[in-house]
């Protein structure tokens, strides 16, 4: 088990900077998820840790060792690839045992260890089969088994659940969480699925365009998103973001095209500290923090109904506020008789405020 540290790490492919000045420290035994949209540099970051890509700037440390120029084979890492990368010409047992074979572990000891790991991952009945003869879920477990078998310093996962169907994915997710608790090894896990990151991570690193935008525990990222990008990426559906202006003349409030939100006193304090009168802002409110109301609410929203989507126990109600859409998440049982004009109220404590450039104003 070891920590992983990035100092100003850069990776350029020609003129494309896939990773652009990344800094972080992942402590021993921590489970970190790299989360971000496709093409933001997650896989490249992971491959830099593994040594499959060479950094074009900065340096990388595993434990106390500077590994920036160390070959992949010498980094003592276990990695689960997106396509699992099981060797098609070897049996499941041989696949799992390959890292041990390369380390010249004697055949007996190898067999014992393969049996142990396979039993733990519930694939001990499949050891004689070939990768083509087992299911996707079993392939995924085999791939995990091969990554843990030699007890590596660091565990790397590249979207390991993306090739599983929905039901299996949830099952495999719980299983990985369980495994992580049991083994407790340092892990870096790449995903573009925010729910997966929320469920698994000790800390989430949200990436965008080769940079880490925010790195914090899941609830912190959820409750205090550092930028509008993060706010928009997490949550399902994501946070409602509405452009507006600060108005400090008279009663302090946020004024949008089709809404007025009075500031609470602690919000006003923060706003006065960071912004001036008339400044452009984005106000954010999560769909789950909004509620429908029969009557107009002061400081709330109203507008014509745009869409009603029932998702089982919950429903999404979208209304049109000026030119913007506002989504409200409610329990389907509470779905009111919808009039043409819908009113929505929210808990003012849950309001988020962002500068024009997208940075969060700390209002709490």
């Amino acid at each position: 088990m070891a920590s992983v540290t990035f100092h100003d790490v850069e990776k350029a492919f020609g003129t494309v900077k896939a990773v652009d000045g990344v800094n972080f420290t992942i402590t021993e035994g921590e489970f970190v998820c790299l989360l971000g949209p496709s093409g933001c540099g997650k896989t490249t970051t992971l491959r830099l840790i593994a040594g499959l890509e060479k950094a074009t700037g900065g340096n990388i440390q595993i434990g106390d060792l500077d590994v920036t120029h160390l070959a992949a084979k010498d980094r003592d890492i276990g990695m689960v690839f997106q396509d699992y990368a099981l060797y098609p010409h070897m049996t499941i047992g041989e696949n799992i045992g390959y890292p041990l074979k390369v380390r010249n572990v004697p055949t007996d000891a190898r067999a014992t260890r393969i049996g142990e790991v396979a039993k733990n991952l519930q694939i001990d009945k499949l050891l004689e089969r070939r990768p083509g003869e087992i299911s996707g879920g079993q392939q995924q477990r085999t791939s995990v088994a091969r990554a843990v078998v030699h007890e590596p310093q660091v565990f790397l996962f590249d979207e390991p659940l993306s090739n599983l169907d929905a039901k299996l994915r949830l099952e495999a997710r719980s299983f990985l969480k369980h495994l992580q608790r049991e083994v407790g090894v340092t892990a870096v896990y790449v995903t573009h699925d925010q729910a997966e990151a929320m469920a698994l991570a000790d800390r989430i690193a949200v990436m965008n365009e080769g940079r880490i935008v925010q790195m914090a525990p899941p609830l912190e990222v959820y409750h205090r998103p550092g930028t509008t990008f993060v706010a928009n990426f997490l949550g399902s559906p994501p946070m409602n973001l509405l452009p507006g202006k600060v108005a400090l003349d008279g009663e302090p409030r946020f004024v949008g095209e089709a809404f007025t939100i009075p500031m609470q006193s602690h919000v006003e304090t923060a706003v006065r500290q960071h912004l001036s009168d008339g400044a452009q802002v984005t106000v954010g409110i999560r769909p789950e923090h909004l509620d429908l109301s029969q009557d107009p609410v002061s400081g709330g929203f109203q507008g014509p109904l745009y869409a009603l989507e029932t998702l089982g126990p919950e429903s999404l109600v979208t209304l049109k506020v000026g030119d913007e859409l506002l989504t409200v998440r409610i329990f389907s049982d509470d779905a009111p008789q919808l009039a043409d004009t819908v009113h929505a109220a929210f808990d003012p404590e849950k309001l988020h405020v962002f500068r024009e450039n997208g940075e969060r104003i700390p209002v709490e």
Binding site: A72, M79, H89, Y98, R103, G132, R146, H150
Partner: protein, 288 residues
């Protein structure tokens, strides 16, 4: 009623037309097949007849006399079981191993232009080898002191076959996902080990295809050994078959047929062996 009686004939007509169509198809394709099969049939039957000519008829009586006379021809037999084997397997090994290594490097190295090199080589080889190049090749082999040696023949064949072999092998190597090799690297394997443990076993079907193909090319090649060899003791079967011609230049059909049958057997056996041992496939990788 009238309507009911009118429908069946049209159905029958349709059926008749269908049957007729099928018959035409089968007769046509049989004729087509016969065109290719007849020489093969002749080859399996004629050697056992003492009176063989170019007609296809069952031997009467069946006889092994032709083979006895062929085996008396020490020159032809040595050509078949020794010289053709040395040259065939020699070039096969050299072509397959070199092409595999080259294809692996061309596929995996991060060097721009590797695809251009591959295609360029193939194009170039079709221009350079063959009859037109025999004079310069002959001069080169003389200067290298390899004239009248098995090695000279093997090298010239290898040179001619390599570009196409690299091209075929590259297709196989390209079809292996890189993640196989990468996961082996992360598991702790050196580059050589990755090649030996992962890439090589997966491209083996490709190597077999290339190997058999190269063997067949050399086995049937006439011009190169005919020009580069002097010593009768080193001539391969493709040249030695002319020892069954009369001095006037007409083939002794009985003996030529028997020798030809022996001549085809190794290729057939090689194919069967490879097919049984490794499976013969023309596409890369292994289904996972």
């Amino acid at each position: 009623m009238t309507r009911a009686t009118r429908t069946p004939p049209s159905q029958a007509q349709r059926a008749a037309r269908f049957v007729l169509g099928r018959i035409t198809f089968y007769v046509g394709s049989s004729l087509f097949a016969a065109f290719f099969v007849l020489p093969l049939l002749w080859l399996t039957v004629a050697p056992f007849s003492t009176l063989a000519n170019l007609d296809l008829r069952l031997p009467d009586p069946w006889s092994l006399q032709n083979f006895e006379r062929v085996f008396e021809n020490g020159f032809a037999i040595r050509a078949l079981v020794q010289n053709s084997m040395i040259q065939g397997f020699g070039a096969m090994l050299l072509v397959t191993l070199t092409a595999t290594l080259a294809a692996y490097a061309l596929s995996r190295a991060n060097i721009p232009g590797t695809t251009a090199i591959t295609y360029g080589l193939v194009l170039f080889s079709s221009v350079v080898t063959g009859t037109a190049a025999m004079v310069p090749i002959f001069l080169m082999i003389v200067q290298l002191g390899l004239i009248d040696t098995h090695l000279g023949v093997i090298l010239v064949f290898t040179g001619g076959l390599l570009p196409a072999a690299v091209f075929i092998m590259r297709d196989f190597v390209d079809s292996i996902p890189r993640s196989y090799e990468e996961s082996a690297m992360v598991a702790g394997a050196s580059s050589w080990r990755v090649f030996r443990d992962i890439a090589l076993p997966i491209v083996r079907p490709g190597m077999m295809v290339v190997g058999v193909w190269a063997f067949v090319q050399v086995w049937g090649g006439f011009l190169i050994p005919f020009i580069l060899l002097r010593d009768a003791d080193k001539m391969p079967a493709s040249v030695a078959i002319y020892s069954f011609y009369t001095e006037a230049g007409t083939p002794l059909i009985t003996l030529t047929a028997a020798y030809s049958l022996l001549y085809t057997l190794p290729v057939l056996l090689l194919y069967l062996f490879v097919n049984w041992r490794y499976g013969f496939r023309f596409f890369g990788g292994i289904k996972s």
